[in-house]
């Protein structure tokens, strides 16, 4: 039988960023840390653990760690690795137990998860074959429009007549955006078109598992107000976003680690 711990750590090693959360026995966040994953997932994991130790001023050597995300196997000190599907479900269920559908948009994938009343996934769909519908899509488009990724969402909300971006491929959509710039369409209209195209892609993915309200959005893209606006339109429902949506997977991993990984 697994022993309960007084502290636990969850680490989400994503394609773009690595997130770590330190929890106490009552599931309160003691401290958390986020950094770019970079070229070495092992180094980013170690850096996260060092930062948790510094900010908590505690010896975390024996604290159980559960890792998640695409680089989960790179967290060598983890007692267990658990998929991001389960960790995101557990994380969002802790923050809002009413949530029945979770849409998580990461740097290189997007996932839609239907969640049971116990916080465990019932069904899921992943898009990890194509960068359209992921954070990378928005990064590419922000670069073409010469705005930061943080500005892209608010820019899109100023649109008067959102452009039509018909391609579902990031590379071809980039050419399309350049074409729209060439015909004189405004950056805000193009930014809105970009978000609409991405929202449409996510809506299609959502239909594959069936959207059941309430719906939450997590991952770094959940901080983008433009995307949330167009996604809510596309799936015709309100969206609930945690205060720090990018930490949801790491939070779920830390909760599982508190119970010894069971």
């Amino acid at each position: 039988m697994a022993t309960k711990s007084t502290l636990s750590i969850g680490i989400d090693v994503g394609s773009t960023t690595t997130k770590a959360v330190l929890l106490d026995a009552k599931r309160n966040v003691v401290t958390q840390y986020l950094l770019a994953t970079g070229a070495s997932a092992q180094k980013s994991v170690q850096k996260c653990l060092d930062e948790l130790r510094k900010s908590s001023q505690q010896d975390l050597t024996v604290v159980p760690v559960i890792s998640t995300g695409y680089g989960r196997r790179q967290a060598l000190n983890a007692i267990k690795s658990v998929t991001e599907i389960t960790c995101h479900s557990v994380g969002v269920h802790h923050l809002n137990p009413e949530i029945r559908t979770l849409i998580d948009i990461g740097g290189q994938d997007s996932k839609v998860i239907r969640i049971g009343t116990d916080g465990r996934p019932l069904d899921f769909e992943l898009n990890d074959k194509c960068s359209a519908g992921t954070g990378r899509f928005l990064e590419v488009m922000a670069r073409v429009l010469e705005v930061s990724i943080n500005e892209l969402g608010s820019l899109s909300l100023k649109a008067k007549r959102p452009s039509t971006i018909s391609s579902t491929c990031t590379v071809f959509a980039e050419s399309e955006v350049i074409g729209r710039i060439g015909t004189g369409e405004s950056p805000s209209d193009i930014a809105a078109g970009v978000h609409k195209a991405m929202a449409s892609k996510i809506a299609t993915l959502s239909q594959r598992v069936g959207v059941k309200s309430p719906v939450s959005v997590t991952g770094g893209v959940a901080l983008n107000p433009g995307f949330l606006y167009y996604l809510a339109q596309a799936i015709q429902t309100e969206l609930w976003v945690p205060r720090e949506p990018q930490y949801t997977g790491a939070l779920g991993a830390a909760i599982l680690a508190l119970g010894g990984g069971e």
């Binding site: 998929t83 599907i85 389960t86 019932l122 074959k129 594959r208």
Partner: protein, 408 residues
């Protein structure tokens, strides 16, 4: 040393079958016989769902390009051979069995076993997919061997009499084609004897499959996919019967002694579709280490129908028209639901094979429907059977792990 039921620290998570050597010997002899038949002008290339009893009754040896595709995949040279076909202008979206076959005909010296021996006839039946006709026509252009298509239009529900008559007429056409191509008269008595041999092998094979209802399962997925080789290539011959007698005896022995195909069976799943041949051991054995077995799959159960008694051509027409790949989605869903129930399975993995459209079509609906009917969860993983460029191990792993987390 023969495997036993006890686990030692050095023991692998899966148990190799003792009949593996007999399987290898049987298939090696078959390969040699195809070379000899080609030299004697009596070799036909045949699709996997073809009514092979008819050419066998004409003393024609059958070689299977789809089985050759499995060898190409296992030898991890799919991208190379598919590339040869793509150089000829064939699309990357085309069936990778077709691409690797065409590629091996183009460059035999760079192909495993220097390709299949040159055929004197190409026998296609579209009950398993429609691509086979164009594929065999392409090979025909390259080798000069004539093509005969046994056309079996798709069926929904029971087979109407006009459908049966049509298929029977195609079999009569096949007899005429074989008589002319191989200069031999049709012998109905011989065909009946071949059909009986075929039925005997199919019965033995089916009994081995059904033994997997036992907990722990005596056969895992990779065991069945490898051991199905004679039921595909040697149906209607004594060699197939000899192999499956020994195979069934080992399976029954495992059941009797409670020896599982994997050492510590914890979770039992269903597999759907052709496997990724280039990573078949890695995939199933990695899961075996986690206690995951696959006691049933939709694919190897496709060779488990007996030719019924009655007028022989009509009986053959019936059994081959009704393979579930020719019967629409509902038949396949029904089959998988019954496997889940009969084999007491806790989940299912649908392998979406990028280049096998016929088998992979409708898997999203299938997944929903199976879960609705059986209550067990499933997952779709993506890849290909031969072309490893279409397979991402990390993505597959995440999906299967997530399924296991939903079950355990």
């Amino acid at each position: 040393m023969a495997p036993d039921a006890t686990t030692t620290p050095k023991e692998k998570a899966y148990r190799k079958l003792n009949t593996s050597k007999l399987l290898r010997d049987t298939m090696t002899l078959h390969i040699l016989s195809t070379k000899q038949a080609s030299q004697q002008g009596r070799l036909a290339w045949v699709t996997s769902g073809f009514p092979v009893e008819i050419p066998v009754a004409f003393d024609v040896t059958a070689a299977y390009p789809e089985q050759y595709g499995a060898i190409v995949g296992s030898e991890k040279c799919g991208p190379l051979l598919c590339g040869f076909a793509e150089e000829l202008g064939f699309s990357q979206e085309l069936c990778s069995y077709a691409r690797s076959s065409i590629g091996s005909v183009k460059n035999p010296q760079q192909s495993p076993l220097t390709g299949l021996p040159t055929p004197q006839a190409l026998l296609a039946c579209n009950n398993i997919c429609g691509t086979v006709l164009s594929w065999y026509e392409a090979v025909s252009e390259m080798t000069g061997a004539p093509v005969y298509l046994v056309d079996m239009p798709p069926l929904e529900g029971d087979q109407p009499s006009h459908h049966l008559s049509y298929v029977k007429s195609k079999l009569e056409g096949l007899i005429e084609f074989l008589s002319q191509t191989f200069n031999q008269d049709y012998d109905e008595e011989k065909l009946i004897q071949v059909a009986e041999l075929s039925n005997e092998a199919v019965s033995l094979w089916t009994r081995a499959l059904e033994a997997c209802r036992h907990k722990p399962t005596p056969l895992n997925c990779a065991d069945r996919f490898l051991s199905m080789a004679p039921i595909v290539a040697l149906r209607g011959t004594q060699q197939a019967i000899s192999f499956y007698q020994a195979f069934l005896a080992e399976v029954q022995d495992r059941v009797k002694n409670n020896v599982g195909a994997i050492v510590d069976e914890k979770v039992r799943l269903l597999w759907d579709n052709i496997p990724p041949w280039f990573t078949i051991y890695n995939f199933f054995n990695t899961l075996a280490k986690k206690g995951v077995s696959f006691p049933a799959d939709s694919y190897t159960h496709a060779w488990s129908a007996n030719i019924p008694r009655g007028e022989i051509l009509e009986s053959i027409a019936k059994v081959y028209s009704n393979v579930y790949l020719n019967k629409g989605l509902t038949a396949k869903i029904d089959k998988m639901c019954s496997l889940i129930k009969d084999y007491d399975l806790e989940g299912f993995v649908l392998f979406s094979v990028r280049s096998c459209k016929r088998y992979s079509l409708g898997q999203m609906v299938t997944k929903e429907e199976i879960t609705r009917r059986t209550g067990v969860p499933g997952v779709i993983i993506e890849g290909d059977m031969v072309d490893s460029q279409q397979y991402n191990e990390a993505q597959v792993e995440t999906r299967v792990e997530a399924l296991l987390e939903m079950i355990v």
